[in-house]
C-alpha cells in the first residue's frame, strides 16, 4: 500500500469533512467530477450536502467563503489552478486578509492552490503564487513538499482561525508517494531539516525540495555534505531554523521555482544577510526560474525552472568561494 501526495490531499479533506460539520468544499468541477485533478474524488458522494460545484467565478468564490466564515463555517475553496486565483486576488488580499484586523472577526478559510509547473502546461497553468500572497499581511502561506505535510498541513490549515493559502505542487501529485501517512510532527511555522549537512545550506520549499535533495546527492559524490532546509510554510517563515543551518554551514543557496524578482528567495537572503551576516563565509546565492512567462514545450520548460543540474552547478560556485 502506498499513498500519493494527491491522495493525501483528498484524504485530508475527507478527514476534515468527517470530523468537523462546519467544513464544506467549494470549487469548480469538484462535486460529481471530483475536481480537475481528482483531489475531491468521491467526496461529494460521501458528503453530498457539503461539496459544491462553483461557477467560474474566483472572485465570488472567495467572497462567499469569507461570508460563510463569518457565520462559523470553515470552507475549503479549490482554485482549479493557482494561476486563476488572480481573478480572486482582490477578495483574498482585501477581504479575507483584512477581516480579522479590521473587525476582530476571524476568517478561517483554506484556499487550495494547485501550483507550480508541469511539462506542457504553459504560461497559465504553471504559476507559483506564494510570494504574491505572502506579501500581504493577514494570510498564512503553506507550501508542503511531502506526502505527510500535504495531509497534516491541510488539516492544520482548516483548523487555523485565519485565511490559509495552501500551495500544493502539481508536479508532486502523482510522482510523490509514501508508504503511509506518518504522525503529525511539526506545526505550521516550523521548518524541517530535510537532509543534514555541513558545507552549504539550501533553503527551499515545495517541489524544489526534491530537486535540492537530488543535487545534494550529486555533491556528495564530490565529498560535500549539503544541508537542505524545507521551509514548509513560507509565511510564517522559520528564520531561526534557517539561521541555525547557516551557522553550521556558512554558505547559503536560496532556491525557488517562482519568478526571480523579489519573492521568497529574496526574503530568505534578506533575512540571513541582515540577521546573520556574520555567519556567512561566502556571498549568499539565489536560484529561481527565468524571468519570462512559463513555457509550454518540455525542452523550454525544463530549462526555465531550476533543475538538479543547475542547482548542483550553483552549489559548486557557492562552495568555490
Amino acid at each position: 500500500m502506498s499513498i500519493t501526495y494527491l491522495e493525501a490531499i483528498r484524504e485530508a479533506q475527507y478527514e476534515a469533512l468527517r470530523s468537523d460539520p462546519s467544513v464544506f468544499l467549494y470549487g469548480q468541477d469538484i462535486a460529481t467530477f471530483g475536481g480537475a485533478f481528482k483531489a475531491t474524488k468521491n467526496l461529494s458522494r460521501e458528503f453530498p450536502d457539503r461539496v459544491f460545484d462553483a461557477p467560474i467565478s474566483e472572485d465570488a468564490m472567495i467572497g462567499m467563503a469569507v461570508g460563510a466564515a463569518v457565520e462559523g463555517a470553515r470552507p475549503i475553496v479549490e482554485m482549479q489552478f493557482a494561476d486563476f486565483s488572480s481573478i480572486g486576488f482582490n477578495q483574498i488580499i482585501n477581504q479575507a486578509a483584512t477581516l480579522y484586523w479590521r473587525t476582530n472577526v476571524p476568517c478561517p478559510i483554506t484556499i487550495r492552490m494547485p501550483s507550480g509547473g508541469t511539462a506542457g502546461s504553459g504560461p497559465f497553468h504553471s504559476q507559483s503564487m506564494e510570494a504574491i500572497y505572502a506579501h500581504y499581511p493577514g494570510l498564512v502561506i503553506v507550501t508542503p513538499a511531502t506526502v505527510e505535510d500535504a495531509y497534516w498541513m491541510l488539516l492544520d490549515s482548516v483548523e487555523i482561525n485565519d485565511p490559509v493559502v495552501f500551495c500544493e505542487h502539481k508536479f508532486l501529485y502523482y510522482h510523490l508517494k509514501a508508504d503511509r501517512i506518518g504522525d503529525r510532527e511539526l506545526p505550521i511555522g516550523k521548518a524541517r531539516i530535510a537532509r543534514p549537512g555541513r558545507h552549504a545550506t539550501i533553503v527551499t520549499y515545495s517541489a524544489m525540495v526534491h530537486e535540492a535533495l537530488r543535487a545534494a546527492e550529486e555533491l556528495q559524490l564530490d565529498g560535500y555534505q549539503i544541508e537542505v532546509v524545507d521551509l514548509r510554510s513560507v509565511k510564517p517563515m522559520d528564520t531561526d531554523t534557517i539561521l541555525a543551518s547557516v551557522a553550521r554551514t556558512g554558505r547559503l543557496l536560496a532556491l525557488g521555482e517562482a519568478f526571480p524578482w523579489g519573492g521568497v528567495t529574496a526574503e530568505i537572503i534578506a533575512r540571513v544577510t541582515t540577521e546573520g551576516f556574520h555567519l556567512l563565509d561566502a556571498p549568499p546565492m539565489r536560484l529561481n526560474s527565468k524571468d519570462t512567462p512559463i513555457p509550454y514545450h518540455p525542452n523550454l520548460w525544463k530549462a526555465h525552472r531550476p533543475t538538479t543540474a543547475t542547482i548542483a552547478a550553483a552549489l559548486r560556485t557557492l562552495l568555490r568561494h
Binding site: 462567499m64 461570508g67 460563510a68 493577514g138 506545526p187 511555522g189
Partner: protein, 320 residues
C-alpha cells in the same frame, strides 16, 4: 432619514472645519429614502446587511447606533473599527452588519456566503441578505460574479442599485449601454423592479415586496432606484460636473422634503412637529459627537500590530 441627513451634515461640517476627521466624508444626501426603505425591512440579528458608501440611512434603519458612525469617522478606539479603518468602512459582521471594503461589488458574494453557511447549518430560517451598489458598481466583475452566484444558489438576497446617474464624475452614458439598468436582472435570472427613489412611499413598497419575495424562496431580487446624488462623491468634491439641467430635473427632488410633505399632507405630522423633530435630532447628533470627541484615539504603542488571530503564526512568534 432625518437622523442620517443631520448626522451627515454634521460630519460634513467637521470635515470642512478640519482636524477632527482625518479621512474623507462620503454622504448619502438624496439617497436616504432608498437606503432607509431597505434598512427598515431588515431585522438586526436575523438578516445580513452589506451596505455601501451612501447607506448611512439604511444602516440606522437596520439598527446601527449613530455612535458607531461617529466613532469610526473620528477613529475612536471605542468604535467597531478602533481606528484601524474609517468612515463608511465599518460594520459588526457578527451582528450581520458586514464591513464594506472599497472594492465595488465585492460585498455581494460576502453577504451571499453568510446566507449560504446558514442554509448549510440548517439555520437560514426566514433570514434574508441585502447589499447596495450604485450604477458604477454594476460595471465590476465582482458584481457580475456575485449576483450570478447568488442566483445560481437561489439565495434570498436583495440587491439594491442606487442609480444616481454619476459614478464619481462619470455619467451613465459612459458606464453601461443597456436601456435600463434593471434590464440586467433578466440576464441573471433574478426579478428586478425600478422605483422612483426620491419617493419614500414607493421605495418602501418596492423593498417590502422584494424582501417578501426573497423570504418566500424567490431567489435574489434587484431593486433599482432612480435618483440624483445631491452631494459630491465625497465632501472634497463639489460635483461641478453635474449639469444644471440634471440638478433641476425630477431625479433631483430631495427625498427628505418629499417624505416630510407626504407625512404632513396625510396629517401624520404638522410642519411645526417636523421642525421640532429636526431640533431634537440635531441635539442627539451634537451630544453624540461631543461624547465621542472626548474618547481616546488609537495609541500606536498599544496597538498589537498583528493581522492574524492566531498569535503563534505571526512572523517571529514561533518558539520551539
Amino acid at each position: 432619514m432625518l437622523l442620517s441627513r443631520v448626522l451627515e451634515e454634521k460630519l460634513g461640517s467637521l470635515y470642512r472645519a478640519g482636524g477632527r476627521i482625518v479621512g474623507g466624508v462620503y454622504l448619502g444626501k438624496g439617497q436616504e429614502a432608498f437606503s432607509a426603505a431597505l434598512g427598515v425591512q431588515l431585522r438586526k440579528g436575523k438578516d445580513v446587511y452589506a451596505p455601501l458608501i451612501r447607506d448611512q440611512a439604511g444602516r440606522i434603519a437596520f439598527g446601527e447606533p449613530i455612535i458607531d458612525t461617529v466613532r469610526t469617522y473620528l477613529g475612536a478606539v471605542t468604535g467597531p473599527m478602533r481606528g484601524r479603518d474609517g468612515n463608511i468602512h465599518r460594520g459588526r459582521p457578527k451582528e450581520g452588519h458586514m464591513a464594506m471594503i472599497s472594492h465595488l461589488g465585492s460585498m455581494l458574494a460576502v453577504a451571499s456566503g453568510a446566507l449560504f453557511a446558514r442554509r448549510l447549518a440548517g439555520r437560514l430560517g426566514d433570514s434574508v441578505g441585502a447589499t447596495s451598489i450604485g450604477d458604477g458598481g454594476t460595471s465590476t466583475g465582482a458584481f457580475h460574479e456575485g449576483l450570478n452566484m447568488a442566483a445560481v444558489e437561489k439565495l434570498p438576497m436583495i440587491v439594491s442599485v442606487a442609480n444616481n446617474q454619476y459614478a464619481y464624475s462619470t455619467p451613465n452614458t459612459r458606464q453601461y449601454a443597456c436601456e435600463n439598468l434593471v434590464d440586467r436582472a433578466l440576464g441573471y435570472g433574478v426579478e428586478g423592479v425600478t422605483v422612483d427613489a426620491t419617493d419614500l412611499a414607493s421605495c418602501l413598497k418596492a423593498f417590502r415586496a422584494a424582501v417578501a419575495r426573497a423570504r418566500a424562496g424567490g431567489g435574489p431580487q434587484m431593486v433599482v432606484g432612480t435618483l440624483l446624488r445631491l452631494s459630491g462623491h465625497g465632501e472634497h468634491d463639489d460635483a461641478s460636473y453635474i449639469p444644471d439641467k440634471a440638478r433641476q430635473g425630477p431625479n433631483a427632488r430631495d427625498c427628505l422634503q418629499v417624505a416630510e410633505e407626504f407625512a404632513c399632507a396625510h396629517g401624520w405630522m404638522t410642519p411645526a412637529e417636523v421642525r421640532e423633530l429636526h431640533e431634537e435630532v440635531r441635539r442627539t447628533v451634537d451630544q453624540t459627537v461631543s461624547k465621542v470627541s472626548k474618547e481616546p484615539t488609537p495609541d500606536p504603542y498599544k496597538e498589537n500590530w498583528q493581522a492574524l488571530s492566531c498569535a503563534e503564526l505571526v512572523e517571529g512568534q514561533y518558539k520551539a
